[in-house]
C-alpha cells in the first residue's frame, strides 16, 4: 500500500528548493529541499530551534527567505506577504495564537474574508451563519457571537484550526496544533485532517509528540540545525530511529527511574475555592514527592496553581505550609515562603522577551545577589551560568535576548528562573509544552532530580503519559474540583479519564 502511494507519479503540491534563511548570525535554514504530495500528511520533526517554524513561516509568506525557490503545483511562486500565500490556498495554524481578543468568535474566523453583499460592506448575518458552518464542519460547537476573550486555550486552538480549514486549502500547515489539546479534541482534529487528506490537500504537520506522528503522518522529514537530515515514510521507521536522527544520540528511557521517597506533608490544601471556577479543591503535597494533576482542559488545574501561588484570589478554604496556616496575597509572599510556579504560557506570563537570558533567570531571586539593593553582577552571573548550563540552554550565551531563542530554549529559561530560588514547593504547569523530545527528557530527569533532592513538585500536564510516567500520586480534577486521587501503581489512563470526564460511576 505504502509503496503504491510512492510510485504513483503525482506532482508534489509543494516543493522547496535550496531554501536558506539567516537571522543575524544564526542560520535558521540551510538549503532545505522538501516536498509535500497531494493527499499526504507530511510530518516535520526536529529539536527546538531546528527551523521548523521558520520554514513554515516562509511557506506562509510571513517571513522572507534569503534564497531558494518554492513551487506550488509545479509553478514557481514568490510569497511577499501572507495575503499572497492565502490567495494560493496555503493555510497555517501557527504555534502562537493569531487571534483577535476583542472581537467575536465568529468574526475571528472570518477576519480578512468577511462576507459582503456590496463590496466593502460587511454582511453580519451571512458572516455568522458561515462561522457557524465552519465550526460545525469540524464538529465543534461554540457561540459565534461570544467575545473571544471568554474562550480557553483549547477552544482558541480549535478556532485556529477552523479558520485554517475554512476553504479547502491546497496546502495546510499545522505547527504544534495538539500542544494544548486534550485527547478528545486531538482525535477530532485528526479526523478533520484525514478528511482533508482524502480530498487531496497537502498537509504539513509539526509535533513534538512522536506517537501522533506515527498515528497520523504518511511521511516524516527530520530537520536538524536548519538542514534536512532525512525524509522517510513513517511506516518504515521507528520512534527510536527518529529520535536518533533528531537529537543525534540515543535518549534511553523517556521517564527516569525513580525511588519513591515521600517525606512529611509540606503543602496541605483544604476546600480551596477561587473567585472564578474552582471549588472544593483538596490535596496534600509531601516533600520529595511528585504530585500529578490530571484533568480535561478547563478543569481548573491552572487556577488551582494560581490560587495556591497567590496569583489569583481565593474565596474560601485554607492552606497549610509546613504545618503553619498560610494565605498568600501575592506571588511575592508565596515565593518568600518557598514556592515556585512555572506558568503554562511562557510568552504571556513567564518571560521578559527584551531582556537577556541572564537577567530573565535571575529575575525572581534578585535579593540573593544584592546588598542594600545593589546587585553583585559577578555573583549573579556565576549563579545563572550554573543553572543554564545544567539545563543546557542553547545558545550558551547569557547575554542573548530571550526573544531570539527557540521555544524550547525559552521554556528552559523560564524553568531556570525557578531553580535559582531554591524553593521547597515547585509548581510546574505544562512544563514540556512545545519542547522537543530531547529537552523533554532532560526536563523529566530534572524534575525527578528535584524530587530526589526533597523538593515537593506539583506537576500539571495535559500529556497523560507524562503524568503517569513521573508522578507518585495523581489528583484528577473535573469542573473545578478535585474528584479523585490515585497512587501511581493503581492509576491507569482509563481510570483517570473516567474521573476527568465524570463517567466513573
Amino acid at each position: 500500500m505504502e509503496t503504491a502511494v510512492q510510485e504513483t507519479p503525482v506532482l508534489p503540491v509543494l516543493a522547496t528548493h535550496q531554501i536558506t534563511k539567516r537571522y543575524g548570525a544564526t542560520i535558521a535554514l540551510r538549503n532545505v529541499d522538501f516536498q509535500v504530495h497531494a493527499g499526504e500528511i507530511h510530518a516535520l520533526v526536529g529539536e527546538n530551534g531546528a527551523g521548523k517554524s521558520t520554514l513554515i513561516k516562509i511557506l506562509a509568506g510571513a517571513v522572507r527567505k534569503d534564497s531558494g525557490e518554492i513551487r506550488l503545483d509545479g509553478k514557481k511562486i514568490e510569497l511577499q506577504e501572507p495575503a499572497a500565500a492565502q490567495r494560493l490556498g496555503i493555510r497555517v495554524v501557527y504555534q502562537d495564537f493569531s487571534l483577535f481578543p476583542n472581537i467575536t468568535v465568529g468574526e475571528n474566523l472570518l477576519v480578512g474574508r468577511w462576507h459582503s453583499r456590496l463590496p466593502g460592506l460587511v454582511d453580519w448575518k451571512a458572516c455568522y451563519r458561515r462561522a457557524e458552518e465552519l465550526l460545525q464542519g469540524i464538529g465543534f460547537q461554540l457561540d459565534v457571537r461570544k467575545p473571544l476573550n471568554s474562550l480557553g486555550v483549547a477552544e482558541k486552538q480549535m478556532l485556529e484550526i477552523a479558520k485554517a480549514v475554512a476553504e479547502q486549502p491546497r496546502l495546510l500547515i499545522l505547527d504544534e496544533p495538539t500542544a494544548v489539546l486534550e485527547e478528545e479534541e486531538t482525535q477530532r482534529l485528526f479526523g478533520v485532517v484525514r478528511r482533508l487528506r482524502q480530498s487531496g490537500t497537502g498537509i504539513i504537520f509539526i509535533s513534538h509528540h512522536l506517537e501522533e506522528i506515527f498515528t497520523l503522518a504518511d511521511r516524516v522529514t527530520i530537520l536538524k540545525d536548519g538542514q534536512v537530515v532525512d525524509t522517510r515514510p513513517t511506516a518504515s521507521t521507528t520512534k527510536d530511529e527518529l529520535i536518533q536522527l533528531m537529537v543525534g544520540r540515543e535518549l534511553g528511557d523517556l521517564y527516569p527511574k525513580r525511588i519513591r521517597q515521600r517525606g512529611r506533608p509540606i503543602l496541605e490544601v483544604r476546600d480551596l475555592a477561587g473567585e472564578n471556577r474552582i471549588h472544593h479543591v483538596n490535596f496534600t503535597l509531601h516533600e520529595g514527592e511528585i504530585l500529578g494533576f490530571a484533568g480535561l482542559v478547563g478543569s481548573g488545574r491552572t487556577e488551582v496553581a494560581r490560587c495556591v501561588f497567590g496569583a489569583d484570589r481565593t474565596s474560601a478554604g485554607s492552606m497549610m505550609l509546613d504545618g503553619k496556616p498560610v494565605s498568600f496575597r501575592s506571588p511575592r509572599e508565596a515565593i518568600a515562603a518557598g514556592l515556585a510556579f512555572l506558568t503554562e504560557d511562557r510568552k504571556k506570563d513567564g518571560l521578559f522577551p527584551d531582556v537577556s537570558i541572564e537577567h530573565n533567570v535571575s529575575a525572581a531571586s534578585l535579593s540573593q545577589f544584592s546588598k542594600l539593593a545593589v546587585l553583585s553582577e559577578s555573583r549573579e552571573a556565576a549563579a545563572v551560568n550554573r543553572v543554564i548550563q545544567k539545563l543546557a540552554v542553547k545558545p550558551n550565551e547569557p547575554r542573548k535576548l530571550v526573544k531570539q531563542l527557540s521555544g524550547g530554549n525559552q521554556q528552559k529559561v523560564a524553568l531556570a528562573k525557578w531553580l535559582l530560588t531554591e524553593s521547597k514547593v515547585i509548581i510546574l504547569d505544562q512544563p514540556t509544552w512545545g519542547v522537543d523530545v530531547g529537552t523533554m527528557v532532560e526536563i523529566y530527569h530534572f524534575v525527578a532530580e528535584l524530587a530526589a533532592r526533597g523538593k515537593a513538585v506539583m506537576l500539571i500536564s495535559s500529556v497523560l503519559p507524562e503524568i503517569l510516567g513521573l508522578s507518585d500520586r495523581i489528583i484528577v480534577m473535573r469542573e473545578g474540583a478535585t474528584v479523585a486521587e490515585f497512587d501511581r501503581p493503581e492509576a491507569t489512563e482509563e481510570k483517570i479519564l473516567a474521573h476527568a470526564m465524570g463517567v466513573s460511576e
Binding site: 501572507p82 493569531s98 483577535f100 468574526e107 474574508r113 460592506l121
Partner: protein, 325 residues
C-alpha cells in the same frame, strides 16, 4: 462536548444579580456617568437646561468632536496622533489664504487635501520605518505648526466670504451647521467601524497586528489610510473652526490632541488598540464640553477649574472601572 456547552450556558443563567449589575455597569457606565453629570448640572444651574445653552455646548464641542472621530480610528488601530491640532491650524490658514484667491469650493477642497497630507506622511513613516506613532506625530506636530506659521507669516488670516462663514455660524432650524457636521462625521465613522470591511480591518489590526498581517490584511495600507483620515478630519475641523471664528490663527488648535484623546478614552477606547466606539467617544466629547460649560455657568475661577476638570476626568475613568484583563 455537549455537556460542556450546557454547563457554560447554565453558568450564565446562574450569574448572581450583583454580577449582572456589574456587567450592565461595565457596558453602560459612561452613559450613566454622563447622565449623572447632566442631572447635577441641571440641578445646580438654572441656565444649564435651556435650549440655547445646550445648543451652545454642542456647538462648542463640534470641533473637538470632529477631531475625536479621526483620533478614535487612530487609537483603535493602536496608534496616536499628536499632530491633529497643528494640522487644524495649518489647514485653517490654508483655507483662509486660498479663499482670497480661489473659488470657495476649490479653496476648501485644496485645504482638505493639503490637510490630509501630513497624515499620509506620518502614516508612511509609521508603517515603513516602524517608528512609534507618538514620536512620529510629535515631529509632525512641530512641522505642521511651523508650516502654518510660515504660510501665515505668524499673523492671523481673516476670512470675509459670507458663504464660508455661514458654514461655521449658520444653522439648520435651530441646529448649527458645525453640530450637523460633527454628527454627520460621527455617523459615517460609526458606520465605517461597524459595517465596512475597512472598519473591521482597523479593529483587527488594532487587536493583533501580526495576526492581521497573517490573515492577509494589508496592514500598512490600512494604517496609512487611518492616519490620513484622521488628518483629513482635523483639516475639516480646521475649516469649520476658521469659518466659525472668521479667522485662521496660526496658534489655533494647540492642545486639541489632548482633548480628543481624553474624549476617546472617556468613551471607552483603549491605548492598547482594538477597542473603541463612536457613541462612547461622542459622549466623551460632550462630557468634556459640559465640564467647561457648567463650571463657567457656576462662575468657578479658572485656576480651580483646571483642577476640577482633571479630577472629573479621573473620576469618570475610575468609575468606569475597566474589567480587569
Amino acid at each position: 462536548m455537549n455537556t460542556k456547552t450546557t454547563t457554560i450556558a447554565s453558568e450564565n443563567q446562574g450569574i448572581p444579580f450583583g454580577q449582572q449589575c456589574l456587567e450592565v455597569w461595565n457596558r453602560y457606565s459612561m452613559y450613566i456617568i454622563f447622565g449623572i453629570i447632566v442631572v447635577i448640572s441641571a440641578l445646580i444651574s438654572d441656565a444649564f437646561f435651556t435650549q440655547n445653552n445646550l445648543i451652545n455646548v454642542l456647538k462648542q464641542v463640534s470641533v473637538n468632536g470632529i477631531i475625536s472621530m479621526g483620533m478614535l480610528l487612530v487609537i483603535i488601530i493602536g496608534g496616536i496622533d499628536l499632530s491633529v491640532g497643528s494640522v487644524l491650524a495649518l489647514t485653517g490658514a490654508l483655507v483662509a489664504g486660498l479663499q482670497l484667491k480661489l473659488p470657495l469650493y476649490q479653496a476648501v477642497s485644496l485645504a482638505l487635501i493639503a490637510g490630509a497630507l501630513p497624515g499620509l506622511i506620518s502614516g508612511f513613516f509609521i508603517t515603513k520605518t516602524k517608528m512609534a506613532p507618538f514620536i512620529m506625530t510629535l515631529a509632525m506636530m512641530t512641522i505642521a505648526r511651523g508650516m502654518g506659521f510660515i504660510y501665515s507669516n505668524g499673523t492671523p488670516i481673516q476670512v470675509s466670504n459670507e458663504r464660508f462663514t455661514e458654514l461655521g455660524g449658520g444653522t439648520l432650524g435651530i441646529i448649527p451647521y458645525p453640530v450637523l457636521i460633527m454628527l454627520g462625521v460621527a455617523l459615517i465613522i460609526h458606520f465605517i467601524v461597524k459595517r465596512t470591511t475597512f472598519g473591521r480591518e482597523v479593529i483587527a489590526v488594532g487587536n493583533n497586528e501580526e495576526a492581521a498581517r497573517l490573515a492577509g490584511i494589508p496592514v500598512n495600507r490600512i494604517k496609512l489610510l487611518t492616519y490620513t483620515i484622521c488628518a483629513a478630519l482635523s483639516a475639516l475641523a480646521g475649516i469649520v473652526l476658521t469659518s466659525r471664528l472668521y479667522i485662521a490663527e496660526p496658534m489655533a488648535g494647540s492642545g486639541f490632541e489632548l482633548d480628543a484623546i481624553a474624549a476617546c478614552v472617556i468613551g471607552g477606547a483603549s491605548f492598547n488598540g482594538g477597542i473603541g466606539n463612536v457613541p462612547g467617544t461622542l459622549i466623551g466629547v460632550v462630557t468634556l464640553g459640559l465640564i467647561n460649560n457648567i463650571m463657567n455657568l457656576l462662575n468657578i475661577q479658572s485656576y480651580p477649574q483646571q483642577v476640577i476638570k482633571g479630577l472629573i476626568i479621573i473620576a469618570a475613568i475610575v468609575a468606569r472601572r475597566e474589567e480587569k484583563r
